[in-house]
Assembly symmetry: C2
Homo-oligomer: 340 residues x 2
């Protein structure tokens, strides 16, 4: 089969590799129907995260089950499935509490690389969600989005305690931030302030339900949010970047008693305890437990209530994966979909 | 009147001062029945916080209303009242959401110094809660505790989302930590792990409902909590110290998806963002909005359901306030009550 390998910063190649096989009785092997490039893939691509030798890439996927191990009972060959980037047993106390991405048996589902023809998925019963039937072709991008960026934006909104009638601000206009806007809308937010300085992303935010656009960043952005909320700050702020500036912007944009949901991977951030203490905000986030939301998200997509697939503004054959990385790195594309 | 003044680290004197007067129409002046020394008073007493000239001390109080301003309608002269350390209007959006200690009109109620014969309390209607009648003498310590330490421990438990049937750990065995144990018990926790290495405090924790005592600190303490919770950590952890070590101990003792409620004033703390991200905990805390809880706490005390006043293990006349500071500084007393 073919699969994308990152050799060094900026150096992604699609190569012929061994087909994955069932290694453990809880595994499934799926034929990938669509995969994509994640914002987090850009960390090693840009050399910000170290690359420890050639690394199979990709952790977002939809596909058709080819084969399952002896212990798999819920998932069958031939089913169309959506999975999460963390494999989970979905039965331990942590999973039952809705934190499958911290499952006591957690494994990284992208270890084999989802930007490929085939992928081995551990703990298939607890990780994959099958659709009732083979979905229409035009739903593929949205179902793929559910695998990570939609699930992550949704978790951001849930972690930020988005409630009907409330005011929500979203820091970050990448695919996760845009889908956090969609999630906030679905969860009933009355006012959704998207922070973006790119016209195409602003438009998509408005399409997804944003009511206000703020182009300022940092303390200026905070001032604008305060101006828009009677001086108090938003009830809920979703942080979808992962930098020191964006985290502080999110915390300072939230009213006392409000909630920050942070889903940008917090690289090298230090949060000042005393400021956090007096801010009176709730802080929650982390790697999204996508599996918690997948059944509901798959339903919302297949009944065409939501259309998260619009974040994919570039579709390429798997063989051109390197072009997808380049387009996202240069911010020419919001998110690149790859078709094997 | 007499009042306690901090002149410099270690130098508290009770002196004759001008009687406070009504300064604004929302003020009340109360005759203090009991006040006390707070753990946070020890920060400047120990020289860890700067002392900017002679400072009236004390922010915890119960008393009899002497006089009210023209705009005060809910509180009347002659009533026995309990107040919070932050004065609040109790009508703004932040107060209505239950965050009176971040009220948009917040004032520090201890500005005049509650360790005194008389105290001016701003925003009396939104700050003070009157009892139905003059309480029995033996209830005075418990009602005084409601003014800060009980309200703060209670907020810690609420911020840590203590729920019936759950496992709670409490970091810190000062008065706030001990009353957080009491709060966790009242809120229905099944298992309450108190972290303490002092026999007298351990005993009070057990009296208040602790089921387990852990004497280890730091990473060893975390390991013990994990051992006691099937390797997962507690559902809820209340942090009642305010140091880097105690905050990290609290975060690391909490299971993924669990809640940290932190009420120790976070001095000089930096929280590592990436560790917090992967910890999957909820983090909430800050200066306790005591006013939110006061009506309920006053009821629980006056109907003798709870006895938080047991944290006062030293009672002194106001004139001996300096002895109270010394005893708490040297950890000979958990908490010193002062009677004018």
């Amino acid at each position: 089969m073919r699969g994308a390998i990152l050799y060094a910063p900026g150096d992604v190649r699609v190569e012929t590799r061994d087909d994955p096989k069932i290694e453990k009785p809880a595994d499934a092997v799926i034929r990938v129907v669509a995969a994509c490039v994640c914002g987090s893939d850009l960390w090693p691509y840009r050399g910000i995260e170290a690359v420890a030798g050639p690394t199979p890439m990709g952790h977002e996927y939809v596909g058709i089950v080819e084969e399952v191990g002896a212990d798999v009972s819920q998932i069958q060959p031939g089913q169309f499935v959506v999975g999460s980037f963390f494999a989970s047993d979905n039965t331990c106390d942590i999973c039952k509490a809705g934190y499958q991405s911290s499952c006591v048996h957690r494994e990284y589902a992208g270890a084999g690389g989802a930007q490929a023809d085939l992928l081995r998925v551990p703990l298939a019963d607890g990780t994959l969600v099958a659709t009732a039937e083979r979905p229409d072709e035009d739903l593929i991008p949205s179902l793929l989005a559910a695998s990570d960026v939609l699930g992550t934006g949704w978790f951001g909104a849930v972690a930020a305690d988005v409630q009907p009638g409330k005011t929500v601000a979203v820091v970050g206009d990448g695919a996760v931030g845009l889908l956090a806007v969609l999630a906030a809308k679905q969860l009933g937010a009355e006012r959704i302030i998207a922070m973006s300085r790119h016209a195409d992303r602003q438009q998509l935010a408005l399409d997804y339900g944003a009511t206000d656009i703020v182009t300022e960043r940092g303390d200026d952005g905070v001032t604008r949010i305060k101006d828009l909320t009677g001086g108090l700050g938003a009830h809920s702020v979703i942080e979808a970047v992962g930098t020191q500036e964006s985290m502080m912007q999110a915390i300072r944009s939230t009213r006392p008693g409000g909630h920050v949901g942070y889903v940008g991977v917090a690289h090298g951030i230090q949060l000042p305890g005393e400021e956090l203490f007096y801010s009176h905000v709730h802080l929650h986030g982390g790697p999204a437990p996508v599996r918690r939301f997948l059944p509901e998200l798959v339903d919302l997509i297949t009944n065409r209530t939501i259309d998260p697939g619009k974040v994919f503004d570039l579709t390429l054959p798997l063989g051109q994966a390197a072009d997808g990385y380049r387009a996202m790195d240069e911010r020419r594309a919001i998110k690149a979909l790859l078709r094997p």
